[in-house]
Symmetry: C2
Subunit: 199 residues, 2 copies
DNA sequence: CCTATCTTGGATCGATCAGTACAAGATGGC
DNA sequence: GCCATCTTGTACTGATCGATCCAAGATAGG
């Protein structure tokens, strides 16, 4: 026992995030979460309130962690749209290939489970998907793409990115996932080119 | 009480399918399933064995029900690939718009939940996604598309279709969903055209 | 050193989980 | 009409769920 916290809240939330990501909200019990976080029940509830609250913290962590990476990928090559979009999908592909982290996507998983999620968590997941779309739109606008075109193309790209969340939990090979990403970039480039010629 | 079954197994499985589809495997308790199916616990276990077995029957039902519709959509206009692919996505869009049925897709949802699903159910969901891809490939081959092109394009289309499963549980509008489908068809047509010119 | 405050382990709560036991009752073959 | 067989309602099992309680013990301020 103790009088000073015997754990790092950041490390604990990270561990919980991985559990939710792997198993989903419903299948992540307090016991499993606590074990992964290295916490007893008292410490768990004392520090994080309840399961739903912790889940939302994990969602936020996931959103800002990967949101930053996506943002950086899109922003690093403003002159070359194709390269920027390729980098964008590389964030997803590298996350899927990372053995230290589950496959799939916590946001996509949460959106799909939203009918049985606490309402505020479902709303948060929905908002995170919206942010993702907006990130792409902003990047396209920054590259001089017309607003309506940027909106449409960003939606396609966000959709393709979500499809990877599903496909990464199937028996589809890594090459298959890469092919889906590559084709999405190519389709976006074709669309951008076509709309510039026929606005 | 009775000596003859007081329910129609087909109707009961249909009701269970809708519950699993809406709530996912983990969040569908025997109580909720039984209530939807109009069954007491005894009848439930007597007729369907256990939850996992029933779930696999529901997966199979879902797969054959919509599999047939996709097959029909793809096969109805063999002369016009664009029309066939548009019909294909219409099956999904109409399902999403159908108020009698949940949004999302039982297969996509199950694939995402596969780490915590009974292994055989996870394998079944994976196989159903494979069948879906194969259906599209076959249709493209029937339209004279080269084998490797058909494989690649079918994967893109299956991926886009899965993205709709995620997006249909977000706040994205119906028009947004339709736009995703339309763009996927256009991208596929562009790819087919490009590969015919540069095989 | 003393005490107010905080953290922790462990017991415990009522609810719900999947699944079983069993007796009551209805049916069909004879 | 009789009896073996099947179905059903209800009660129940042990396990697990999320969450709370409380006492033990550690810390920090004075």
């Amino acid at each position: 026992m103790a009088g000073k916290k015997a754990f790092d809240a950041d490390v604990a939330v990270e561990a919980a995030m991985l559990v939710f990501w792997e198993r989903g909200y419903a299948d992540s019990s307090i016991d499993v979460l606590g074990a992964a976080m290295g916490l007893g029940r008292s410490s768990f509830y004392n520090a994080f309130g309840d399961k739903a609250t912790l889940f939302q913290r994990c969602l936020a962590r996931y959103g800002s962690r990967y949101g930053e990476r996506y943002e950086q990928a899109l922003g690093s090559q403003t002159a070359d749209v194709r390269a920027a979009l390729t980098s964008f999908f590389d964030v997803t592909l590298e996350r899927i290939a990372d053995p230290d982290v589950p496959r799939g996507c916590l946001v996509a998983q949460s959106v799909i489970a939203s009918p049985t999620l606490p309402a505020s968590a479902a709303a948060q997941a929905d908002a995170l998907l919206g942010s993702q779309r907006k990130r792409i739109t902003t990047a396209l606008l920054g590259a001089g793409v017309a607003a309506s075109t940027a909106d449409d193309v960003a939606l396609q790209l966000a959709a393709a990115n979500q499809s990877l969340a599903v496909l990464s939990r199937t028996s589809l090979s890594t090459e298959g996932l890469e092919a889906v990403a590559r084709a999405a970039v190519s389709a976006a480039m074709t669309e951008l080119r076509s709309r510039r010629l026929n606005p």
